[in-house]
């Protein structure tokens, strides 16, 4: 992904095209890309703009692209608000997202490896059982899952928020696809040297797959942090709300406090944008590697 793989510029056809297309073609290309990029960035800009303005300025008659007087004091407002315990929701989100990510990586990578690499007679049948769950979108199972979790007494608990989401057929599937392409020779050497499957997995396979694990961790963290339906169902009490449920609660509140809402949104997005910008190279590679590309 990061290397400009098969470079089309080297082919004679393209060399000709480039001479023919010339400056105008290139300018058009960059113009189109630039305009599209600008449109994609506007919503991010609006969050920052609104978060650092006063409400009268946001709702004023004249639209302003820039705040006249940047309100840095707004940053602490969400934590002072009494209707929604924002700090608590932020903490819940961190706990849930981190445990969700570590749990899913551990459980699904082991299963994916077992399905891909350990020669068991019925492994394919088991794999089909996993594939079936891919056909059932997880969101459709939320009614029965809620029924189950509430009868376990897990409503409003971290257990209820985290555990049911750990068994992702999709993540297991992606790990299986990845391990199928993992060089066999490395593990076989380890096995001949006397390591068990378990030992070979932890000491040879995992250390050589850190890129893929990093990509999956990023994807899983983002989806855990951003999930809404399940936390909404499980978080009946505001003390169990995650940040997404808290944000949603702002929308149904009677009084609309614009700068507060947008500051909260900015705070909820910031960690992901940072994680993302830092890890995007692995993330992109990981997605490209997942085998979805067919």
């Amino acid at each position: 992904m990061t290397t400009t793989a098969p470079d089309l510029g080297k082919t004679p056809a393209n060399a000709k095209k480039k001479r023919g297309g010339g400056v105008i073609g290139n300018t058009g290309l960059y113009l189109a890309t630039g305009v599209a990029a600008l449109l994609f960035l506007i919503p991010f800009y609006l969050i920052v703009r609104n978060a650092l303005m006063t409400d009268p300025e946001i709702t004023g008659e004249n639209w302003k692209w820039f705040p006249t007087d940047i309100q840095w004091g707004n940053i602490t407002e969400p934590f002072k608000d009494e209707t929604v315990d924002f700090g608590r929701a932020l903490w819940n989100s961190w706990v849930v997202a981190i445990l969700h990510t570590s749990g899913i990586l551990l459980i699904c990578s082991l299963a994916g490896y077992g399905l891909a690499r350990i020669p068991y007679k019925h492994a394919n049948k088991v794999f089909y059982g996993v594939l079936v769950t891919l056909m059932i979108p997880t969101a459709v199972t939320f009614v029965p899952s809620f029924v189950l979790v509430s009868s376990l007494g897990w409503v409003d608990t971290y257990r209820g928020l985290i555990i049911p989401g750990l068994f992702s057929g999709f993540t297991c599937f992606l790990f299986r696809q990845y391990f199928l392409g993992f060089p066999k020779e490395l593990e076989e050497a380890a096995r001949v040297d006397g390591l068990s499957y378990w030992g070979a997995y932890w000491r040879v396979v995992v250390p050589n797959s850190l890129n893929f694990f990093a990509a999956m961790a990023t994807i899983t963290f983002i989806s855990g942090w951003n999930s809404f339906l399940w936390p909404l169902v499980i978080g009946q009490d505001p003390s169990a709300w995650t940040i997404q449920v808290a944000l949603s609660a702002y929308m149904t509140n009677q009084t609309v406090n614009y700068h507060l809402i947008f500051m909260s949104t900015a705070i909820s997005i910031l960690p992901l944008v940072l994680v993302f910008l830092f890890l995007q190279r692995w993330l992109v590679q990981g997605i490209a590697q997942t085998g979805i590309k067919g």
Partner: protein, 321 residues
């Protein structure tokens, strides 16, 4: 874990019986390890996916209000009731309209972005990041921006401000279904959030197209641009396109977050999941009807998935491995 086999492996015994025993030992060792690796996942999958599914099917045949251990069997009454409910059937129509908008537009936009990013030479990583960045944003946060800042129905919303420069009166984007401007809000929101993800899939596929194909086309006199795109790029992207369309359809079926947050007080534009949420977890807590609805929805998704797989040959690449 498997000390016996390790010894066998380390000292390969020449005698035949010993070899047979070693092979049997290896097989037992593999079986044990298979369950060791997959066991925790499979147990969880059974408890948290298969059991709820079974329970849901069971509940769908019972009168189950406010209770998950019902006693009165009512056959297909829940199914009849929910299929007679105009809100639920209407939600299936909503889904169909939504899918008809969102699937082709996301396909086209993500492919278009991929073609742009693939061709540019400078700042490639920058532009790729910009288009991919919205993937990190939640539907809830995006819904807040769309509803409160861009498509706010009053003058200070960005869309209405820009329209006012051209003398257009304020548009009430979400407040009424006639004209159905709310579709524009919902579709652009989802486009922004998911196009970057599918762009990455297309980018990966574009880089896998052999350069020789373009050379051969050039020799055959194909003009670069539309012709090579139509006869080389597009056919080469077929497998990816199929996968993308399938993923888009399934994602559209699961739409909940943005509808819930944008149209929470509305009676229109409610997709199936929002209706199910209201049925099962709303005021009436009707788990029986909610479950019947979930079963119907699952069957519908299964049929569409299999049907689409048949037509477009999804999974063929998998079999050929």
């Amino acid at each position: 874990m498997s000390t016996t086999t390790e010894i066998d492996l380390a000292n390969p015994a020449p005698a035949k019986p010993a070899k047979a025993r070693s092979r049997r030992g290896l097989r037992a060792n593999a079986t044990l390890n298979f369950w060791l690796f997959t066991g925790p996942f499979l147990i969880g999958l059974i408890v948290f996916v298969f059991v709820p599914m079974g329970w849901s099917i069971y509940l769908s045949f019972f009168e189950a209000r406010f209770t998950v251990s019902p006693s009165s069997f009512i056959g297909f009454d829940n199914y009849k009731a929910i299929l007679d409910n105009p809100d639920f059937t209407g939600s299936l129509v909503t889904f169909t309209v939504f899918a008809a908008f969102i699937v082709p537009t996301t396909w086209a936009l993500s492919l278009g972005l991929a073609l742009l990013v693939h061709r540019i030479r400078f700042m490639k990583a920058f532009f790729r990041s910009v288009f991919f960045l919205p993937t990190a944003v939640s539907y809830v946060a995006a819904a807040l921006i769309w509803k409160m800042s861009i498509f706010n129905g009053v003058r200070f919303g960005m869309a209405n401000t820009i329209l006012s420069w051209f003398g257009v009166e304020n548009v009430a984007w979400l407040a009424n279904p006639d004209p159905p401007w709310y579709w524009l809000v919902i579709v652009t929101l989802r486009l922004w959030l998911q196009a970057g993800f599918y762009m990455i899939l297309f980018l990966a596929a574009l880089q896998n197209i052999p350069a020789e194909l373009y050379e051969a086309a050039a020799i055959d006199g194909a003009k670069p641009g539309w012709q090579t795109f139509r006869y080389i790029t597009l056919p080469q992207l077929r497998a990816t396109s199929t996968a993308v369309i399938l993923l888009l359809l399934i994602a559209a079926y699961q739409a909940f977050d943005e509808f819930w947050n944008l149209l929470s007080k509305a009676t229109w534009g409610q997709p199936p999941l929002v209706e199910l949420y209201k049925t099962a977890l709303g005021e009436n807590q009707d788990y029986g009807q909610g479950s019947a609805g979930a079963v119907i929805l699952t069957l519908l998704i299964l049929v569409i998935t299999l049907f689409q797989g048949r037509i477009m040959g999804f999974g063929r690449g998998e079999e050929s491995k």
